[in-house]
């Protein structure tokens, strides 16, 4: 199957590389030694460390995350339960002004944690519509798929706040890690001017090393892998292209708020 998909340009290209490297042009070389068939000792230690993390370790990681967020303008707030998160989102929705146009609306992921926030009901009090980005049924036909995608796109573009969760958050660099899946479009964390992410504190990892150890070797995460598009987001969008002056809000969100639920 793989051989069949190879195109002539590829065959020629790879032959030339083999020649340049001083190998026979038509012999496929062994690759197994470049990869790992089982986790290394370091990977095992990392997994062990993640699994054994006690409440005080979590607290320490949370504090590291809050510190790492400061220099990159990421607002991290720890909240005891989801009701506080709903209240905090309500407050932001009331206070903040939309960047494009007057009307306020919010786009929110369909996600177990986000569903628990009851945003549609809560924001109804402020008469702010909440667009839930539900998964698109895969067997509903092309026309429906297209129309549904266009509707969600328009809703996200019109929204001034996007509410998402994340798969993980890396404390050392204050990095949200999101894999793409149905119902959880990445544009919700990109196109609205304000991005609000809500996570549970057991989703906090120390760093990329821990993340990759899980994605590569933990059976809970390995099958899904990195998905078709995995995003790292560390704070709001920024640029320093004009006289090296730091400005937030180049193309992505101008503000990012992260609520960590510690229930």
């Amino acid at each position: 199957m793989r051989e069949k998909m190879k195109t002539p340009d590829q065959t020629q290209f790879i032959r030339r590389i083999r020649t340049a490297l001083g190998h026979a042009p038509d012999v496929t070389r062994e690759a197994r030694h470049l990869f790992a068939e089982s986790p290394s000792d370091e990977d095992l230690q990392l997994q062990e460390r993640i699994h054994r993390r006690a409440a005080e370790d979590r607290q320490a990681l949370l504090e590291r995350l809050i510190e790492a967020g400061k220099p990159i303008n990421l607002n991290v707030t720890a909240l005891p339960d989801v009701a506080y998160a709903t209240a905090a989102i309500l407050r932001l929705a009331a206070e903040k002004k939309p960047e494009w146009g007057e009307a306020k609306s919010i786009a929110a992921w369909r996600h177990p944690l986000i569903d628990r926030l009851n945003l549609v009901e809560a924001l109804d009090r402020l008469q702010i519509p909440v667009h839930l980005t539900g998964p698109i049924p895969v067997d509903a036909g092309r026309a429906f798929d297209q129309a549904e995608r266009e509707r969600q796109r328009a809703e996200i573009i019109a929204s001034f706040i996007g509410v998402t969760s994340a798969d993980f958050c890396l404390a050392d660099t204050a990095t949200l890690v999101m894999r793409t899946r149905p119902g959880q479009p990445r544009s919700a964390a990109l196109v609205p001017s304000i991005h609000i992410a809500v996570i549970h504190w057991d989703q906090i990892l120390a760093d990329m090393k821990e993340l990759f150890a899980l994605l590569r070797w933990d059976e809970r995460y390995r099958p899904e892998g990195l998905s078709s598009y995995m995003s790292f987001i560390s704070g709001p969008s920024k640029t320093a292209d004009i006289e090296a002056t730091m400005v937030h809000g180049a193309h992505g969100p101008r503000e990012v708020h992260l609520f960590v639920v510690t229930e």
Binding site: Q10, I17, P182, M230, E243, V247
Partner: protein
């Protein structure tokens, strides 16, 4: 290929040195990033030696490029993406044009990509009647001004806020302001419309990972996430060397990339892209294409002296410490890549004779090697290029750069081996120098053909008594 003006190095360097805006910007840039990057390396848990480890990872990947690229291609195809292997710049451009035509593309938004500059993608798309918009703020500014990037990471470093204000008044019709946040907001507004209307997005590739079958892009602005999420089609352009085998290896490269490029512990956005939108997902492109580009890299790969150059990840840390780049600026280098990386890679990609001034212009001070996130020995390769220019090289089709210089050194070599004639010559020169203009005991000007020596400095005159004479005299005494 895009325009190459490496022959104008000396001329452009003079212009750069005379440009006060550029001089001020370069000082600020090197002050901030040069030091910041060194400090960021020191703060790594593994210390700056992590660069040595990264070098090993990259060398291993380069030595297995055939294997890794085939694995990457197979995985991306299995995820529904297309992969095209382009031997030349023209083949890569033609492929992008074909994709654009097939999808009735009228507007392309571009994420910053040096390889797209290298292959000259913009002019080709524009010639086909397609609007191309650069979306990195710095790239957007220079596109509006009709210029080329002068730094790999900070392309508009040569423009100050007044220049940009005038440009935006003229091109975007805004009220004049020199406030960077207000200027950024004006570009944000204009570019948001483009992102939402574009049919196709293009990006470069910072690094691909064979194990997972992903390419990754890193940006602070979010323009690359926009360009790879909102349009129907995404085309990623990748120099064929930009790959590592495993994710844990990639982790090391990414940490060094962010530190080398902007003294950051992590760029704002890193995206791992493995293919197009999957069923049930509401956003992301319908089509994903990866174009793997050779365009002369194979020759570098085949030469053990220069293969190390393919370890480069274009972080631009070398530009931020280079005393030559720090004076002459990026335009002098006459091609997509400037600074020490340009001084090595441009001659190798575009012709060593043609770009001879680039490698001869550097000082060999070694700052670039210490700053290099991949610990590449750039000074060694600069010397290797100069050696080829001195003696010629059939494999690289290099002609000796200067017959006169070769002759002069052969003459010198003969002279210093013939002591009597040498000493006679010294005597004559010592007598002759009396005729030259002097000030405070220094020679002000030398006669042709060596007048260049005293163009910007004075020269110590020859001593009345040579060392050998003094040796003989004091030994006797």
């Amino acid at each position: 290929m895009s325009d190459i003006s490496t022959e104008k190095y000396v001329e452009e360097a003079k212009r750069g040195i005379a440009n006060t805006v550029l001089q001020k910007a370069l000082v600020g840039l090197q002050d901030r990033f040069g030091r910041g990057t060194a400090e960021a390396y020191r703060r790594l848990p593994e210390g700056p030696d992590l660069r040595l480890k990264a070098h090993e990872i990259r060398e291993k990947a380069i030595a297995h490029l055939d294997v890794l690229l085939e694995i990457l291609a197979a995985k991306i195809r299995a995820s529904g993406g297309y992969v095209y292997f382009a031997e030349t710049a023209q083949a890569a451009v033609d492929y992008c044009l074909a994709v654009a035509r097939r999808n009735n593309v009228r507007l392309v938004v571009k994420g910053k990509s040096m390889v797209s500059e290298e292959i000259g993608l913009n002019p080709a798309l524009e010639a086909a009647g397609i609007e191309v918009v650069e979306t990195d703020l710095g790239e957007y500014i220079i596109q509006l001004a009709g210029e080329t990037p002068s730094h790999i990471i900070a392309p508009a470093i040569h423009k100050n806020r007044q220049d940009i204000a005038d440009l935006f008044v003229q091109k975007l019709g805004i009220r004049r302001t020199t406030d960077p946040p207000a200027l950024t907001q004006a570009a944000r507004k204009a570019l948001r419309e483009k992102f939402l209307a574009a049919d196709m997005g293009t990006s470069g590739v910072n690094m691909a990972c064979a194990e997972t079958g992903h390419i990754t892009t890193v940006s602070n602005e979010g323009n690359i996430r926009m360009a790879t999420t909102m349009p129907r089609v995404h085309v990623a352009l990748m120099g064929m060397e930009r790959i590592v085998a495993r994710l844990d290896e990639y982790e090391i490269i990414l940490r060094l990339l962010c530190r080398g490029a902007a003294a950051q512990t992590m760029g704002t956005y890193a995206s791992y892209i493995g293919g197009p939108r999957r069923p049930g997902e509401s956003d992301g492109p319908d089509e994903f294409h990866l174009v793997v580009i050779d365009n002369g890299r194979r020759r570098i790969l085949a030469d053990p002296q220069f293969r190390e150059m393919l370890c480069c990840i274009r972080c631009a840390a070398c530009l931020n410490v280079c005393p030559v780049y720090g004076k002459i600026g990026g335009h002098s280098y006459g091609f997509a890549y400037s600074g020490p990386v340009g001084a090595v890679v441009t001659p190798l990609l575009t012709g060593i004779n043609r770009a001879k001034d680039l490698c001869c212009g550097e000082t060999l001070c070694g700052a670039c090697k210490d700053a290099c996130s991949m610990n590449i020995d750039l000074p060694r390769m600069l010397l290797a290029l100069r050696e080829k220019l001195a003696y010629g090289d059939a494999d690289w089709q290099v002609e000796p750069a200067s017959r006169a210089e070769g002759l002069a050194y052969r003459g010198w070599s003969w002279l210093i081996r013939n002591r009597r004639i040498y000493e006679l010559g010294l005597k004559l020169a010592a007598a002759g120098q009396q005729l030259l203009p002097q000030k405070k005991g220094m020679l002000r000007r030398l006669p042709p053909p060596v007048q260049g020596w005293t163009q910007s400095r004075d020269l110590h005159p020859l001593a009345e008594e040579t060392f050998m004479e003094r040796w003989r005299r004091t030994r006797k005494g």
